[in-house]
Symmetry: C2
């Protein structure tokens, strides 16, 4: 029996705004940050569970406060009891305290906080099983996996029985797909070259470097100024050629009609998708955009700010998206992520999880590999996002080769930061902030 004795929450921030890394039309100067959780246990095995939720700076302390407010729901509990009925535990953590639930429900600061805790629990569980999280998942029976899920508010679209049947249909070929992932890795695209705040020469240089490394799929930020967007699109197309993929990401700055007008103008650069064209809450708006852009060949992608399974359910029901960009820690941690992976598979919409920030790539590689091996069995339309920021702070960082993620091998969820990082980037007392 393993008792979780303490939930430790830390405020970790990286001063990325100094270089305009991560700048886009909505988020002009983020400081990539983590509300970081460490789960301590009563075992003397040196294993702790790590999880984080990603924010972009100010307010990271509010997420830390929310984690502390929820800590008592986890402290003193027994890991084996929790993992034996992970779906019930998840509902209890996210909705069991009705006073805290009022602050959401299942959205905003509280849900971000629950994600850090839930993901830390999965990390702890996987480390104790000696497996990376993707492997823990693909080795489960369909019944065990479904037992990790809460079907409340999605049962009109997906029942436990149907989910089990879906997973059983993909049981054949799991071993082959796992071997393929170990051999070839998972295909990815890069966002590293396309930030809004980067000058032209930096964009060109980063494109050339990425091409040399074998990248085939590139994303640029749009939504600042249309002429500027066109100029940058032309530069990137010039560098990457006509046959490679170019995605565009507006980070929510447009209304519906603006999106149509702007994407008609940008269509000559043959974008593969337009990402977050408008409010992340606007399901019907995205459906309208997709409908009106159908003749252009431009897909609609969203999800990094989609806050829970109920919203994804509707994006899928409404036929609003071509690509599901779920976020590993805006959803309430891995349990809800798995639900969205299943919902997407049911609607035959590929998942292309939101990467970047700090730690998101570390998380999402597990999710997409699990999707391929155990759920969808397909790579069609599926790409992991890759951003070359801050990986050096993790003990088990992502590894890429020729535009593919290599399969994670260390036990856990790959999200454990180095002790010196936790010290240096502690906010506001760490050395990185004292210099700043």
């Amino acid at each position: 029996m393993t008792i979780i004795t303490r939930v430790e929450a830390r405020d970790i921030r990286f001063p990325t705004s100094r270089e305009l890394d991560g700048s886009d039309a909505m988020n002009e100067a983020p400081d990539y940050s983590a509300a970081y959780v460490i789960l301590h246990t009563d075992q003397n095995d040196g294993i702790t569970g790590h999880g984080l939720t990603f924010t972009i700076g100010r307010g990271n302390d509010i997420c830390v406060a929310a984690i502390n407010a929820m800590a008592s729901r986890l402290e003193g509990r027994n890991l084996e009891d929790i993992t034996a009925n992970m779906g019930a535990f998840w509902r209890d953590l996210t909705s069991g305290d009705s006073q805290l639930r009022w602050l959401g429900p299942e959205k905003g600061v509280m849900h971000l906080a629950s994600a850090a805790m839930v993901n830390a629990l999965w990390d702890l569980w996987a480390k104790r099983e000696g497996k990376p999280v993707w492997k823990l998942l693909v080795d489960m029976t369909p019944e065990q996996l479904v037992n990790c899920l809460d079907f409340r508010f999605v049962s009109d679209v997906l029942t436990p029985q149907e989910a089990i049947a879906m997973l059983k249909r993909k049981a054949d070929g799991k071993a082959e797909r796992e071997a393929q992932m170990r051999d070839q890795g998972y295909p990815a695209y890069t966002t590293s070259a396309g930030w809004l705040g980067y000058p032209e020469d930096k964009v060109r240089r980063l494109c050339r470097e990425a091409l040399a490394e074998g990248w085939e799929h590139f994303k640029q930020k749009v939504g600042g100024n249309l002429d500027e967007d066109r100029r940058r699109a032309a530069i990137i197309r010039e560098e990457i050629g006509e046959h490679r993929t170019l995605m565009m990401d507006a980070n929510q700055v447009w209304d519906v009609d603006e999106t149509i007008a702007n994407m008609r103008s940008l269509a000559e650069f043959n974008p593969y998708w337009i990402e977050e064209p408008t409010s992340p809450d606007d399901i019907l708006g995205h459906a309208e955009i997709r409908h009106r852009l159908a003749d252009s060949g431009i897909g609609v992608a969203t999800g990094e700010h989609c806050h829970n399974r109920v919203m994804f359910k509707q994006l899928l029901q409404a036929g609003a998206i071509d690509f599901c960009q779920l976020d590993s820690c805006r959803l309430g941690g891995l349990n809800e992520v798995i639900m969205v992976v299943l919902l997407s598979a049911k609607f035959d919409v590929p998942i292309c999880p939101h990467g970047g920030g700090v730690g998101l790539c570390e998380y999402t590689q597990h999710i997409s590999m699990f999707d391929y091996i155990a759920v969808s069995g397909s790579l069609e339309g599926r790409l992991l996002e890759y951003v070359d920021h801050l990986h050096e702070h993790f003990i088990d960082p992502v590894r890429t080769r020729r535009g593919h993620y290599l399969i994670p091998e260390a036990p856990g969820y790959s999200i454990t930061m180095k002790p010196e990082t936790l010290e240096t980037f502690a906010y506001p007392a760490g050395a990185a902030w004292k210099e700043g």
Copy 2:
């Protein structure tokens, strides 16, 4: 020129869970609470701006922390500059700090916090004008009102020009409707008798008291146990008779199919509406419920957890609701409330704002009177919610007569609490909590 010198935030909580006031299927034991804001200025006129956001206990401190994180966006600013362009100010407060926006956007803790600040600003503005808030609004020109709004993410459904035209069409008759409100008040329903945790004899006694006071419309909580819901519905019907109105409120506990089955069973008690049958995020689920219950005569109502104008826009577009139950401080304060009032009027859906808690009735009377006098010009299907809790803590509390709210007359938004309340119910140091 009036400079806002300081944003003071306080954690105020009432130990309502001791009596099961406010108990429902989702919220079994709330402690009604307020993250309370006081805006201080550089004027020596004794006027301060008060606003609160309502929570139900734990986590109220997180809202206070969020207010403190946003305070710098207001401190040092000039009231006249803000009110001259209130729409731009509102966008700046809710979305202008992109780092804080990441934590929503426009939802959860951060949006609750912005509501308290925005409403405090309106209170300050109205007090300085010497008018109650509803009067400040109805005396504005259409252009002035529209200048208070942010049309981002709703322009596909409502433009500033269209909003101005709508308001102009209702200019005739404003004086008569204002006089009518002063004379008769605004019709209301009572939730005071129907809480889930109350025993049968208390329900009967409260029904009889309410009838004696002239109430015609009653709401009960459902969603615990169906047999129990039926038993309580039978009791209330027995007490109030067949010709009075009975609403039912499930507080989000059902899935779509469960809602249909349960409301078919409860239909014999002739409910006027089913409120919050399922997840507040499930726009398409509410539309499905409304469609499938159309033959029963039971309306669909929701909104107290609907977090922003984008969600309301879609509830209206999808034909998902018969009644719009906007919340005065879950939406980002009065500016966004006005937008939802306009959107509802456009779709000809009546507003029945969410009352109860602490301070919600004080707020909503201004909203519904504004709607009637200046926007919809109609009382059809429109009722204010009334709950007889905690009004004694306000300097200018709601007043009711024969099932109607009387028009508020004191300057401001009626939300200023008594100094002794702010002291006694301060959490955790106040006397009310030391006894507990």
